[in-house]
Symmetry: D2
Subunit: 370 residues, 4 copies
Amino acid sequence: MANLKIPVGVLGATGMVGQQYITLLNDHPWFEVRYLAASPRSAGKKYTEAVAGRWHLIKTYAPHVGELMVYDASDINSAVAAFKKGECSFVFSAVEMNSKDETKALEEAYAAAGIPVISNDSAHRWTPDVPMLIAEVNHEHTDIIPIQKKARGWDRGFIAVKPNCSIQSYMKPVHALAQAGYPAQRIIVSTMQAVSGAGYPGVPSLDMIDNLVPYIGGEEEKTEKEPLKIFGAIDNGIIKNVEKPLISAHCNRVPVTDGHSACVSLEFAGKKPASMEEIKAIWAAYKGLPQEADLPFAPKQPIIYREENNRPQPRKDRDADKAMAVSIGRLRPCNVFDIRFFALSHNTVRGAAGGGILNAELLKHKGYIT
Amino acid sequence: MANLKIPVGVLGATGMVGQQYITLLNDHPWFEVRYLAASPRSAGKKYTEAVAGRWHLIKTYAPHVGELMVYDASDINSAVAAFKKGECSFVFSAVEMNSKDETKALEEAYAAAGIPVISNDSAHRWTPDVPMLIAEVNHEHTDIIPIQKKARGWDRGFIAVKPNCSIQSYMKPVHALAQAGYPAQRIIVSTMQAVSGAGYPGVPSLDMIDNLVPYIGGEEEKTEKEPLKIFGAIDNGIIKNVEKPLISAHCNRVPVTDGHSACVSLEFAGKKPASMEEIKAIWAAYKGLPQEADLPFAPKQPIIYREENNRPQPRKDRDADKAMAVSIGRLRPCNVFDIRFFALSHNTVRGAAGGGILNAELLKHKGYIT
Amino acid sequence: MANLKIPVGVLGATGMVGQQYITLLNDHPWFEVRYLAASPRSAGKKYTEAVAGRWHLIKTYAPHVGELMVYDASDINSAVAAFKKGECSFVFSAVEMNSKDETKALEEAYAAAGIPVISNDSAHRWTPDVPMLIAEVNHEHTDIIPIQKKARGWDRGFIAVKPNCSIQSYMKPVHALAQAGYPAQRIIVSTMQAVSGAGYPGVPSLDMIDNLVPYIGGEEEKTEKEPLKIFGAIDNGIIKNVEKPLISAHCNRVPVTDGHSACVSLEFAGKKPASMEEIKAIWAAYKGLPQEADLPFAPKQPIIYREENNRPQPRKDRDADKAMAVSIGRLRPCNVFDIRFFALSHNTVRGAAGGGILNAELLKHKGYIT
Amino acid sequence: MANLKIPVGVLGATGMVGQQYITLLNDHPWFEVRYLAASPRSAGKKYTEAVAGRWHLIKTYAPHVGELMVYDASDINSAVAAFKKGECSFVFSAVEMNSKDETKALEEAYAAAGIPVISNDSAHRWTPDVPMLIAEVNHEHTDIIPIQKKARGWDRGFIAVKPNCSIQSYMKPVHALAQAGYPAQRIIVSTMQAVSGAGYPGVPSLDMIDNLVPYIGGEEEKTEKEPLKIFGAIDNGIIKNVEKPLISAHCNRVPVTDGHSACVSLEFAGKKPASMEEIKAIWAAYKGLPQEADLPFAPKQPIIYREENNRPQPRKDRDADKAMAVSIGRLRPCNVFDIRFFALSHNTVRGAAGGGILNAELLKHKGYIT
């Protein structure tokens, strides 16, 4: 019997996020990596050669992927040819271009050529008709896709993106509370972010031994603004941002390999939950479409609350439920706002490639990719 | 010529804070360690034997200290005898008793016996007639000492304490603003605290490799409440706490040896500074009595502002100005409150033994110790 | 249908190695944890209560184990009762007694009571009729068990132990070469050992941030002597040690959570391999009884050779093949001896509980446990 | 009165070793930095601008250095002009060229122009008439300088270099033993080297959190061969290498900021010391010309032996005696060779810029630089 999995391409296949995509897609029940593209430097090589000496993950790629030829990501024709041969139904984009404008243009070119793009890049996050998806939180934003296609004259292709890794740990808890009738008005958050978020070679070890760095370029702005689009609604052909919650972020780099942490103080906009126990019950009951549809990468329990007072911790909890769940702890009243808590999520899985794969599963479930 | 330095005792001389006191007092221009006391286990030994295999600092003690006999800290008579022999004019207390009540009682016994106690312990921080001093911030609180002595019938002895290490990095910046007419109303702070704060053996390495711990027992309460006494005023024979600023703290342990960091968001109570530049100018101009009196351990510049966007950092900046200055960076408007910034201070020097020594210098300057 | 797995007890069930045993035995195809014993402090509690706040592993225990009552490990009668009820066919011993003599006596008491003991402890490693097993290297030493039983008048019980974690990474490569006709004469080895080897709390973080410690108590002696028994032969009712290879060890503690590394320089006793390629071929072909019998915990490839010049590395390679394989790299001629190489194995899995489980599988395979 | 210090230039002034030179020369009693050169990118800028955002040391440069103009290191004329103005009597070379041949040529050009070059680079280490100096070990090799000058037709200029940082910790102990009549025949050494050895950005933090790397390119070769020149003698116009000791090195990168460690097993060539105590006495008595001449950067005690069984340690001992002493511990008989011990030295001070400065002091003492 022929291979019935949907053939997938990975753009930026040799980079760290590309490697993560390829590894996480080993044995995926729906998708199979069949097309790879990267920079001209890698083009024309077998994948196993292209990543020789540059493989930075603990897990490795499937043998058949090692044998694939790497194409030049800017060569759309190759991708179209692969599509026609049934080797590339859609692409995960983890390209690293010189500018955001180049990335935008490249992703649009794939979409225009009929190949849907599920992107990790920040280039199209603020394009008003491009959905920025956290599958449990705003799956309704996929409704913008037909509008996007129509406006741009694309038939099969489209672009969908995911937000920054720094916000993943607390967006679901905040969303769960909002859904239960307790939207947030103001949030002050300090993050302690893992070095893998900066890729490889990324953060020098001289900065991370007996040290931390109180700055990550561009991260605070993303942390503050992206939730406003995610919590927004489709209105008149675009996704219209909300104005609340107002967020203030302090983003720090700490000596942790994987797992972004956040210390969150939150003020509710109106009604307040009766107790900490009510909030924990809301989080425990929280499910989204990924759980209802039983998507392969969906964590069974999207929000795991830990009662120990010193948990979650990055090394012990980042891998919870395939590294796709967020772990929360230390919920307590805030002296200044209403509540405070500590949140953790795996930045390169839930916050990057794993989140992208879950988005692709969502889009397949809804019929946008086939 | 005879030794004209004031002879000093150290209680808890073998512990980590005791070691720090002894090391920092090497070559002190005013004080000389002449009396040591610790647990019964160490009593009767020469100091060099008592700390053999238990010395955890990089610097070492002065040769004459190694030759001193260690006494039992609970044996007040030995201390009194040393006082009479001119070997112990006052003591730094870094005892580690089984309970706060025992510590309280012990420190009171020394004071009652005529020996002033400058303590690092938290036991007496909330005793209403005991000053909790940060020398630049509330030196006026030493005015409680005559009241304390009189109320308790002590002639020469008294007790003065210092606050917790976690608040040192941002108390001076907040005080500087208050002095300039911009008191804070609300503060949300996340700390990233060094492992030396937990002593030795302290935090297990299995918790600090590729990890952080979002909890330090008792630390958040201290961080939130101690400033209210420090900013208070003497009223009717006690130090009366203020009610503002309201503080909410998230305290985390991170893999850093020395140097507590804090991410601070602050809302002013009334009038706001005109600009970030005005705030920096206030901080640059900030001086206290330690600077005016040119006390030996006073940092020349109590608040060092760094313009680089990724500084201060613990490893690079904790030792600024004998590890007695606080370093601040990343001052910027807060999306939610008025301003936010990052603050760093050395927890075992400025935040512990060095701060205690500066307090002793202040008390000598004012004539309370002789 | 009744549970057909062999019921297993764990002595020292609440300690770090005990936790590791219990976790690794989740879903074991042959064995099931049904009996737990620990110190009197834990006795009488459900396991889930006994380890509350003391669970230090990333993985957790099976739900049914959490419900088990913990017994006092020194209470042999409880174990015998459990044996009679079909709940404890043999025990893994990870007890932490005050002295090696106590451990010896306790393990002998279990064996005398008819309960085989597979021990992690060093107490019986030098008992001449107790086999010290690395399943691939010296499985023939199990032939001492009938002799041991007879000499001591035990019918069903016996004691078998495993060697120290520090030697696991290079014993198999050295054994493979000896089997191929190239026994070693002299070895100089420097180890860089993970902090998990010291248990929890174990190594203080102040010793492991920006630091390493060039000493681990007792480790060098074990590293040098244990191979001499493992390479020995049964002779006249005891395991007689060999005299070669002569080993000199430098054991260091480094800031790594799991995975012991070794830098090995080796001189052959007689004939030398023709080339580095011949050695790699020997290692690649190396299999032992665990592989032939397809034991559940046996790594498929006991020795994994990595061609990259900067591998293996602890974080990337310690988990190879269920953390049961050793990884080798950098084989090259030695300027002083014949060859040198770098070796890595997972100290708490292959080097501790996983190695113990593999030994139990071997003993079941041979009919010693049922 | 005019400045009577010798004016010094630093080539590669903006790099990490260059920064280290400049910082260590703050307040040097003999030398003053007056001339700076670096890559064309920095040329024409004030030093303070050239290093803005690129300053990686804890200490900072002297104010007058910040005001110096940076020249292009390949522009020899500028250096000559500075020499004529009395601003550059000799240079420390820490250039980072594209190839060793370029570095060689550049350093020769300075020497030919009359400017002595004290180099950190490896380019000229194997040039037979260039001395590779460890000031305590082979100061007699400076006798090659007149030969070097004559052969090349240089009048005032010459080149002297220092060896690799990896060998610093054990060369002096080995030399001390040789001087006392106990030369080494064979050495097997495993190093654990700090990340600062790779400069900045250098080693990625993803490789150094919960990890180590068993390979440093080119390091083992240098470690094995450089001692053979250092222990050599001038013979017929060149420095002739010795053949012994034969050295085999395993070089590892570990998560330590500063301080290279070495585990050394050593076999004597002939006569052996009577006891470990004799060896310690030899090390304690060891002095070289730097100590006899009381050179400013000379450690008072070049070899510090620590009796504690877990010392030296990088964080605690690297800074011993201005970070210029080596610290040794754990001397004990070797099971395979004669003795073994653990050695530590500060790689960027003793092993790089500090060692270079000490060499310059030696050369001034001998009249080669004025």
